[in-house]
């Protein structure tokens, strides 16, 4: 895997949102210095609780937010500029599927119009070809031609997400960001979508950045897992290694909180690290290690020293004072 070409490289990325309180300006540190990469054909699972900065990361990569500092390299080229300054070709090569297909598809447009838009913008099909291409895209997500003139409200939530995926595929991207594509869906529908995404990945040689809060889903989908907490990466490892030997106390807390359905899985959970406390506000990040308010293993130094990322195994990185 590591011999594969790096497609996306994020270096020291920071994104602060200013908030004005009286004459003071505070900053929400949504992302506070993260480094990771996505290699060709890989699925990187970016996992975190709400407020951890995982969606902000996605929006910075896709260009919806300008970055505060740091660089984003896509196929070796620096793309850490605003979306308006990005070349059209780059926008074609990179697509995103959002969480809620109820709001990401225009309710006033038919499926035909929804998928037609990216084809028009990028000049990928014209005239008679257009319809053929749209039907072909629908087929690739296993939706029948009869759906062309339906409106999003007329089809189920799972099917809507399939349309959103077809729209993202329309421009033949090589890299796709999936921002919690199944979190509003039932498991039986989720299973269909996930299997579809895996199939499409093989067919079109796609690389995915998969954003989610569901670790057990990542066990089955991702090749590598990145855990975020309060705008920083806590742990990063290839999936197999990650689930065999999770190192960071936060990761262990996350894993032990997951409700499971078999005894086998029960044994895979780390010894019950009791979940305590809540994620602090990103405006008032605690000094030292940001996890110190909830960490059962916190030492005095954790309240002063912010840990640095250390390598603990092949491709396995942890940011915790216990390993420094």
């Amino acid at each position: 895997m590591s011999e594969n070409r790096i497609i996306l490289e994020v270096k020291g990325l920071k994104k602060y949102f200013p908030i004005h309180k009286g004459d003071k300006t505070l900053f929400v540190k949504a992302i506070d210095g993260i480094d990771f990469e996505v290699r060709e054909g890989e699925t990187v699972g970016l996992v975190g609780e709400s407020g951890s900065g995982k969606s902000t990361t996605a929006y910075c990569v896709i260009g919806m937010y300008s970055v505060t500092s740091g660089t984003i390299l896509f196929k070796g080229k620096d793309i850490s500029c605003a979306s308006s300054q990005r070349p059209l070709e780059l926008k074609r090569d990179m697509q995103i599927v959002f969480q809620d297909p109820g709001t990401s598809l225009n309710p006033q447009h038919t499926i035909y119009k929804i998928i037609e838009l990216p084809l028009k913008v990028h000049g990928l099909a014209k005239g008679r070809e257009m319809r053929e291409r749209i039907v072909q895209l629908l087929e690739s997500v296993e939706l029948p031609e009869s759906y062309l003139y339906k409106y999003p409200r007329m089809i189920g939530g799972g099917e809507r997400q399939m349309v959103a995926i077809a729209r993202a595929l329309a421009t033949n991207p090589s890299f796709m960001i999936l921002d919690e594509p199944t979190s509003s869906l039932d498991v039986s529908v989720q299973a269909k979508i996930i299997n579809m995404l895996i199939k499409l990945q093989k067919e079109f040689n796609l690389s995915y950045l998969f954003i989610t809060h569901d670790l057990s889903l990542m066990r089955n989908v991702a090749t590598r897992v990145v855990i975020m907490y309060l705008g920083k990466i806590a742990e990063m490892a290839p999936t197999e290694i990650f689930f065999q030997s999770p190192q960071h106390p936060y990761t262990q807390m996350l894993l032990s909180s997951i409700p499971v359905v078999t005894k086998e899985e029960e044994e895979l959970k780390p010894k019950k690290i009791k979940s305590q406390g809540e994620i602090p506000s990103p405006v008032n990040v605690p000094p030292g290690c940001s996890f110190n308010t909830r960490c059962p293993l916190a030492k005095p130094e954790c309240f002063e020293k912010d840990p640095v990322m250390v390598q603990v195994g092949p491709d396995h990185f942890v940011r915790c004072n216990l390993f420094a």
């Binding site: 609780e49 709400s50 189920g156 799972g158 039932d186 498991v187 039986s188 529908v189 989720q190 299973a191 269909k192 979508i193 996930i194 299997n195 809060h213 569901d214 670790l215 057990s216 889903l217 066990r219 089955n220 989908v221 999936t239 689930f243 807390m253 996350l254 894993l255 032990s256 909180s257 997951i258 409700p259 499971v260 359905v261 078999t262 086998e264 899985e265 895979l268 959970k269 979940s275 305590q276 809540e278 994620i279």
Partner: protein, 321 residues
């Protein structure tokens, strides 16, 4: 163990333009005293409708052609308005999915807790006593600094804290039955774990009965003694906790279990083809028949009964009778 709630052959229809949505289709369900029961099912299968029937808070379009809902052997559907109010105030408490929507945004937590306590039928309540009971309720759900919280508004709390407040309200006074309707769906997994552990602990300590509605088989497994699986307005399977996961009988249960991503890996099953039937024109026989890989002619015509296959494990499928 006597049954606290027993639902027998319940049908609930909703009047809409173009006919009736035949949602509940002969539901059989029971909860014993002090028992923790979970109902698992996907969106739109009728879990919440069943619970709303217990509290009689169905919308005005609802029509109940048939069925009984017994609470301590009295039929809720035949109760007078006064009796049902007493039941809501003292017998049953419900915790809803979205605490932001179930708490009133313009009243303080203290006001809202006081309203619950003053309707509970406890005698000789004065302001000071209500305040004391409110503080105790908040302490019990392990909220720090309860005096300050009494004066706060819901928007000043985090999602996890709001759900703790809802639990405090449900448990502020003596209730026989707590219904928790997807209490942790909007919460992160670490907070979910905390809230469920708290709910489990309090309900066990007080010996209440609990009905936990969820769409997650994992949550049901970790919190209930007995689990009902619901599909399209029917209970399709019920069994003791472990048994359901080792030996799922109904094809729907089996397929649903396959769809759950496992921590042990091994990929995810293909999903279940098709979708939940249209309630305006549901299939006449078994409602799972259009999606079932084992369907026969009999399934298309006849509705399977909910039969016991031993040890209280019941299943509604012709494969087993």
């Amino acid at each position: 163990m006597g049954d606290l709630v027993k639902i027998q052959d319940l049908y609930v229809w909703f009047r809409v333009y173009g006919g009736y949505m035949k949602v509940l289709n002969g539901v059989n369900f029971s909860v014993g005293k002090g028992e923790k029961v979970s109902i698992v099912g996907e969106t739109g299968c009728g879990k919440t409708t069943t619970m709303k029937t217990i509290l009689r808070i169905l919308s005005s379009q609802a029509h109940i052609p048939k069925g009984e809902v017994l609470f301590e052997e009295k039929d809720i559907l035949k109760m007078k308005e006064g009796e049902i109010k007493r039941l809501r105030g003292r017998g049953v408490a419900m915790i809803f999915q979205d605490p932001m929507a179930s708490l009133n945004p313009v009243f303080t937590i203290g006001d809202q807790l006081a309203a619950v306590i003053s309707h509970s039928g406890v005698q000789d309540l004065d302001k000071e006593k209500i305040r004391q009971l409110s503080i105790n309720a908040l302490k019990e759900v392990k909220l720090p600094d309860p005096e300050r919280i009494l004066g706060s508004y819901p928007f000043q709390m985090s999602g996890g804290m709001r759900q703790r407040i809802c639990i405090a309200m449900a448990l502020a006074t003596e209730r026989a039955l707590i219904i928790a309707d997807e209490p942790t769906t909007n919460l992160d997994v670490t907070i979910q774990d905390q809230i469920l552990a708290l709910l489990r602990e309090l309900v066990t300590k007080r010996g209440n009965s609990l009905i936990l509605i969820t769409h997650s088989l994992g949550i049901a497994r970790e919190n209930a003694d007995r689990i009902y699986v619901m599909y399209a307005g029917n209970m399709v399977e019920v069994s003791n906790n472990e048994e359901l996961f080792c030996n799922p009988l109904h094809p729907y249960t089996e397929m649903l279990l396959g769809c759950v991503p496992k921590l042990s890996g091994g990929g995810i099953a293909e999903g279940i083809a098709g979708r939940i039937p249209d309630y305006l024109n549901p299939p006449p026989g078994c409602r799972f028949e259009p999606r079932c890989p084992y369907a026969t002619d009999r399934c298309r015509e006849e509705k399977p009964d909910f039969v016991d296959v031993g040890n209280g494990h019941k299943v509604a499928c012709f494969k087993y009778n």
